[in-house]
């Protein structure tokens, strides 16, 4: 048993921590959120140069051969700055599904460009009715000759407005919730027939609902085997669940520490409010929740590495337990700040926002609790 980070892992963490501390203060983040496209192209280039975009990919795919432990390290550090650059949609989801299901040629074509920082991706898997059931796919792709024709509605596709290519989970056969008959197609984001309803998200990220109307895609854009995509999709969504859970662990650390600091400086009744034991115990709870969250994050990462990729039960355990912690830490941070906690001007409210949405994406706390119990 060994809980120490390797030298490389420590270096990666240090370099992200340095970036977040020096170049990603709250004001900078808010400016980026409000900017065109909602992320900084410069930062993206920097991430590529520093090799962060290579972390989760296997060496044979041109990556750094990152483990799940590396992945959570990356995300935990980014979470400390609630970084909005599209690592999850482009690298973990988009890149992840290509790495998981793509042919050698597809990987070579796309992953290299992605790791150089020159490709933005989105992964359209969810639908309005599907909730967290990745097999619930009504969007149809019909094959005729050398192409597929896609029709349907994909819900809340992260980064879709910035993406060069969108990987779409479609039904090529079977009924709406059949496990078989699900396929993946790589679609150019500007393909004719895609209507985008873009929006910023409540936590400062970007997304869109996508409506496909007779969108024609060459058959060569099929990713993986026709009709057999479900387990790859679930693997990638699970890794994204672990990634945002790790992001939450980082965000919680900052959130509880900021709360402790604030209560030491905020005076009411002639004393710092940190003096009130009613508040002290609640901050002790926040601290405990963060520690527990960090532990279960590492458990899930180590178990996943031991399983050679994704350990569903361990990831569900982590996502569910961390969701519970994120809820408590976020709510308590706002409460203990008082009025200033519900304002847009203070960073804590924005950590709270992200700690909230993380509970409901890639499987909610309850969904993962149930899956954990059933596995």
């Amino acid at each position: 048993m060994d809980f120490s980070y390797s030298e490389e892992q420590q270096m990666l963490r240090d370099s992200i921590a340095k970036f977040v501390n020096q170049d990603y203060d709250f004001d900078t983040r808010q400016k980026i959120v409000a900017s065109e496209g909602g992320f900084s192209k410069e930062n993206w280039k920097l991430f590529a140069e520093l090799g962060w975009l290579m972390v989760p990919f296997k060496e044979e795919d041109g990556g750094l051969g990152g483990t799940a432990v590396d992945l959570v390290g990356l995300m935990e550090e980014l979470g400390k700055g609630i970084v909005v650059e599209p690592i999850i949609p482009t690298v973990i989801l988009g890149g992840g599904i290509i790495a998981e299901a793509g042919s050698a040629q597809q990987k070579e074509e796309l992953l290299g460009t992605l790791m150089e920082g020159n490709l933005q991706l989105a992964f359209a898997f969810a639908e309005p009715q599907s909730r967290y059931n990745t097999a619930d796919i009504a969007t149809k792709a019909e094959k005729s000759g050398d192409s597929y024709k896609i029709n349907g509605h994909k819900a809340v596709v992260l980064n879709a407005n910035n993406a060069d290519k969108i990987i779409v989970a479609v039904r090529t056969s079977g009924d709406q919730r059949d496990e078989n008959g699900i396929s993946l197609l790589i679609v150019d984001a500007d393909a004719a027939g895609i209507e985008k309803r873009s929006y910023e998200t409540v936590d400062g990220h970007q997304g869109a609902d996508l409506y496909f109307k007779d969108v024609t895609v060459p058959a060569a854009n099929l990713l993986g085997e026709e009709g057999k995509a479900l387990s790859a999709i679930q693997n990638v969504v699970d890794r994204a669940a672990l990634a945002v859970a790790a992001e939450a662990v980082g965000a919680m650390e900052v959130t509880y520490k900021k709360t402790v600091e604030y209560t030491k400086t905020r005076k009411q009744f002639g004393v710092p409010i940190a003096v009130f034991q009613a508040l002290q115990h609640r901050m002790a709870e926040m601290f405990i929740e963060h520690e527990q969250a960090k532990s279960i994050m590492l458990m899930a990462a180590m178990q996943s590495d031991a399983a050679g990729g994704v350990d569903r039960k361990a990831i569900s355990a982590a996502k569910a337990r961390i969701g519970k912690a994120a809820r408590l830490v976020g709510q308590e941070a706002v409460q203990l700040h008082g009025g200033i906690g519900v304002t847009d001007e203070l960073d804590v409210g924005h950590y709270f926002k992200r700690l909230t949405t993380i509970q409901f994406i890639f499987g909610s706390t309850d969904w993962h609790t149930e899956r954990f119990a059933g596995l």
Partner: protein
């Protein structure tokens, strides 16, 4: 003990229903029902309709224009209003400053201010909190120094809800020496927002809206006749007002209606196959809230019954504040949960009345998270839930 309505009460219920059906403006109903942005004009329009009917002020004494309703009638009104998605009366004039004016104000003040509040001609805001006086309100520093027939007011009030709509503000100010005890130093002053020297700046909340403000006073001259009661008695008056504020805060009827529509929504939300409402964990969460709400409803009725026999709402009203806000916040959270991925889109324009574009997500899913974020305020304002527990410890448990 008896929970049934009498003949007269049933007739009253019918009258309320009829009135709401005929007179409650549909556009306001639609806004409230769908969580759309409410404008100042909406409140004014509705309140004037209530005034015409003689139902503007359920809690005021009859002599000033109150309805004279019994607790049961108020209960009926609250329930029917909630069911019809009635816009709640803006509290600052009707429920906060008016009771102070009719209880402690002089005859002239009553005549000058109460009719305009009743008819909704004047918009009031509450100037209590300051940057350094939140939970510890008594440490407020805004000063009012008497100079002839005027007070010269200096200081900053903050968190002033809808202060940018307001014509008048009621303030707690310091008239005594800075080191003087609250019991003798704080006064209750009414200030015209148009007086030179007042400036209002916005504070944006987590849902991206302007709801609260900072109000700055720089050498603002206020006629002494705007003082309520006596100098140095403001703290006592304000305390009365705070208990009023708290009895109105449980919002049981409102939460009951929300709970019902939430169940319906969850029954119609696919959970990737079966309905979300059939999910055992979700179902238990809903039931837990319902149990809390049922208990709260009867706690509120017990409190109202006690008040109607002449007892002042005591520290027990803290229970209503704490549990009422906990239930409301739990419902907010379930709304986010039902939205699932659709809690993410932030589509502000969708929540303006008359938006013609396509809505993102089912129903008002896209409003769930902003509302949840915004409503974290309810356990903070009106005396935070921690302060309420301190009150219970001190005043009830004798700790």
């Amino acid at each position: 003990m008896n929970v049934n309505f009498s003949e007269e009460e049933l007739a009253f219920q019918e009258e309320v229903r009829q009135f709401l059906k005929e007179k409650y403006p549909k556009h306001i109903q639609e806004k409230v029902k769908n969580g759309l942005h409410i404008e100042k004009e909406d409140w004014v329009e509705w309140q004037k309709i209530l005034y015409e009917k003689g139902w503007a002020a359920a809690n005021w004494p009859v002599e000033y224009g109150g309805t004279g309703w019994t607790p049961t009638q108020k209960y009926i009104w609250a329930n029917e209003s909630a069911k019809h998605h009635v816009l709640e009366v803006m509290a600052f004039g009707m429920k906060m400053v008016a009771p102070v004016i009719y209880t402690y104000g002089n005859e002239e003040q009553k005549q000058r201010f109460l009719p305009d509040i009743l008819q909704s001609n004047v918009w009031w805001c509450q100037g209590y909190s300051e940057p350094n006086a939140g939970s510890d309100l008594a440490s407020l520093r805004t000063t009012a120094v008497r100079e002839g027939d005027e007070y010269i007011v200096n200081g900053t009030k903050t968190w002033t809800t809808l202060g940018h709509y307001a014509d008048w503000i009621f303030c707690l100010v310091r008239t005594g020496r800075p080191d003087e005890k609250n019991q003798t130093a704080i006064s209750f002053l009414l200030i015209d927002m148009n007086t030179p020297g007042i400036s209002v700046s916005p504070i944006i909340t987590l849902d991206g809206r302007r709801e609260v403000n900072e109000v700055h006073f720089e050498n603002v001259r206020v006629p002494v006749e705007n003082l309520i009661g006596q100098e140095g008695r403001g703290w006592t008056y304000a305390k009365l007002l705070l208990t009023h504020e708290r009895t109105n805060i449980a919002r049981v009827a409102h939460s009951k209606v929300r709970l019902e529509s939430l169940k319906e929504l969850a029954a119609n939300t696919s959970n990737g196959g079966p309905a979300l409402m059939d999910d055992p964990i979700f179902k238990k969460k809903v039931a837990d809230i319902e149990l809390d709400l049922l208990a709260l409803e009867y706690t509120e009725l017990r409190t109202l019954a006690a008040v109607s026999t002449g007892q002042a709402p005591g520290p027990e009203s803290s229970i209503l504040k704490i549990k009422g806000t906990e239930v409301a916040q739990a419902l907010d959270e379930l709304d986010v949960e039902i939205a699932g991925y659709y809690c993410l889109p932030f589509v502000k324009e969708q929540f303006e009345y008359g938006f013609e574009g396509e809505w993102v997500g089912p129903g008002n899913a896209a409003n769930a998270a902003p509302t949840y974020y915004n409503h974290r305020k309810v356990s903070i304002y009106g005396g935070s839930n921690e302060i309420q527990k301190n009150i219970i410890c001190k005043a009830v448990l004798g700790l």
